[in-house]
């Protein structure tokens, strides 16, 4: 049986357009030290380090874990490097947890980062490849048709995407680590922002951020010595499907549905909307909130947008989504998935500060990547599973 595992330390950097005050090592270090401090530990207490990030072309460093080993106190320890595209932050946390669940280690430090300002995201995600059409204009160009198809299928009104964009930016005002702090955000401001990839407006899109996130995963024994309350891992799950498969539903991917079903079954959740108190889900473009609400079973197919429309997903709604401000407010790509897991953990530990959801006991962390084909999810709880 897998060993009980908990998150006992959470750390994030201040996410920003350009963290020009630090090197790459300084960036990951800032998150790692905060997570260690939260856990009451130092590098010497850590058994292994697991690093995650998206493509190495963002920073132009091949396998940067080699150079980052010193900054993460990894000398003489096992170190792994995970890369599963946009879901990598979530996948990385799951690999780190797996090492504790397997009974191999007592305390594992996991860190995910992206320093996107070292290059240009549009280039790093899609450099020109011979023989192909240079058409897909960044992630927005790839996902916009799926969003359009969701709107067509569901008949959702135009303001839904704008509403999510405003909600997440208002939530971000309560999160000191968030990249975007836009006190004057409004529906009108979103509506008037440039339509970049119709139907995606500029303010319905995530920013490009420098940032890192770190977690300390611990065994039950190690968690009992932690100074702050642990977030117990009730379930983790991953699912992948091929991008180039004929007949794939990119709007409501089977891998996402299967991953949710797996993680809920392990955690004993039959009615996610009723049983989950708060969810941090990977929403890089605002329309993905209603899309994932359906894929995750919070709403029936075609009606996810209604939870946005009736404010159910607001901070004071019955299922608050992205109380931290989400990916729409901070997007260091490689770290974004881990931030979801970290924020879910903070909620059930009662340590989310100004964006704490009162009485949160069960939280979902969600990440996705590639062409909506890689999914990583975790359920964390205040009580032991």
């Amino acid at each position: 049986m897998a060993q009980r595992t908990a998150v006992i330390g959470v750390g994030q950097t201040k996410h920003d357009t350009k963290r020009d005050d630090v090197s790459m090592a300084g960036l990951v270090r800032e998150a790692a030290l905060r997570a260690l401090e939260d856990a009451g530990l130092s590098f010497a207490d850590i058994d292994a380090v697991v690093l995650g990030k998206a493509p190495d072309m963002f920073e132009g460093v091949m396998m940067p874990e080699l150079y980052l080993a010193d900054a993460l106190g990894a000398n003489g320890k096992p170190m792994l490097r995970v890369h599963t595209a946009g879901s990598v932050g979530g996948s990385t946390a799951i690999v780190a947890a797996s090492l504790v669940q397997a009974g191999i280690h007592e305390r594992v430090l996991t860190v995910a980062f992206e320093k996107q300002s070292e290059s240009d995201a549009m280039w790093a995600l899609a450099p020109k490849i011979p023989f192909q059409m240079p058409l897909v204009a960044g992630a927005g160009g790839y996902f916009a048709p799926h969003i359009r198809e969701y709107i067509r299928r569901s008949g959702a009104p135009d303001h839904i995407g704008m509403k999510v964009a405003v909600k997440d930016r208002l939530n971000a005002l309560r999160n000191p680590f968030a990249h975007l702090h836009m006190p004057d955000i409004s529906l009108r401001m979103v509506e008037e922002s440039l339509m970049l990839w119709d139907p995606i407006r500029y303010l319905e899109s995530c920013p490009s951020s420098d940032g890192a996130c770190a977690l300390v995963l611990a065994s039950e024994k190690a968690a009992s010595a932690a100074p702050n309350p642990p977030a117990w891992i009730h379930a983790t799950a991953v699912r992948s499907e091929p991008i180039g498969m004929a007949g794939r539903d990119e709007v409501d991917p089977q891998a996402g549905r299967d991953c949710a079903a797996d993680v809920y079954a392990q955690a004993g959740i039959s009615d996610p909307r009723a049983q989950i108190d708060v969810a941090e889900i990977y929403v890089p473009f605002s329309w993905y909130e209603p899309m994932w609400l359906e894929n995750l079973g919070f709403a029936d197919v075609g009606s996810g947008w209604k939870l946005v429309d009736d404010d159910s997903t607001a901070l004071d709604g019955d299922i608050p989504i992205n109380a931290s401000g989400g990916v729409l407010s901070s997007n260091p790509i490689g770290a974004s998935g881990m931030i979801r897991f970290a924020e879910a953990a903070l909620q059930v530990r009662g340590m989310a500060g100004e964006h704490q959801v009162d009485g949160a006991r069960i939280a979902l962390g969600h990440a996705y990547g590639g062409g909506s084909q890689f999914f990583a999810m975790a359920i964390v709880g205040r009580e032991r599973p």
Binding site: M63, L66, Y67, A69, D70, V238
Partner: protein
Amino acid sequence: MREVAVVSFAQSPTTVEDARSEVEILQPVLHQAVERSGIAREQIGFTVSGSCDYLAGQPFAFVMGLEAVGAWPPIRESHVEMDGAWALYEAWARLQHGDIDAALVYAFGKSSTGDLPKVMTLQLDPYYLAPLWPDAISVAALQARALLDAGAHTERDMAEVAARSRRDAASNPNAQVSGDTSADALLQEPYVSTPLRAHDCPSAGDGSAAVVLAAGALAREVAERPVWIRGIDHRIEPHALGARDLTTSASTRIAAAAAGASSDKIDLAELYAPFSHQELILRDALGLNGQTAINPSGGALTANPMMVAGLIRIGEAASRIARGEADRGLAHATSGPCLQQNLVCVLEGE
């Protein structure tokens, strides 16, 4: 720990591929590994791969790898931007949870498509080292010179490693380089990057490999002779080349001790030493003596598909044990400049 065994292995020949894409090289190998395992695809509960975007110069190279797996219905899957040996480690850890009994591990890469020694420069410290553009062969040569200067080994020792590797590779249909040669003959060759000669260095090669792991009863059910992973561990050391002792491998020594490698007789060792002098360093670090056959496959000096060669070491050692040619073996993988990161796996036949 839960008993986990290698139950099948497949690899492509290491070549310079003009025609096939990475995924076209991978697909038949995956197919063979699963077929040979005797385990139905649906029974494989976890799939994990190792590859590197910079080899082909495209982000998300691994996404295309998934096309060859048959990942439908969707599968539990992960990917490390590391040699496939570390993917195998992740699979081994996942099998410890007890809820699944079989895992598929694969690795692939076309390192010949770029200027590999230059591409590898991007592994170095991006502030102090990479801007000077020392290539991978030069960096290895600095280590070789330091080893020779330390006095315990000679250029002849390095040539002996290369000659033995080439002779052994003659019986390995997957090797890229082989031949009946001697240290005397090789020492007549010119230097590529002093003190390294061409035979001390690997060629850029393309390839793929896949391993199926199974736990306990399932492994005994499907394999005539399951090859049990008795211990597996990996360690990293500091990056700065000038701040560590390049003539030894502290991380290999720690990993070997943690994997239980020193506790018993080792019949064979497959060491991922892409440069001849690195085999000498690894042999010392592992305390291997004349009892152990080193790299009977010919090793990475004769076939070095980047990201795959470490996984091949595990597969080659396991295959020999499965065939009854040995009982207990050691497989090693490395990553990073001058053996910065090392993995040791101890394998034993039923």
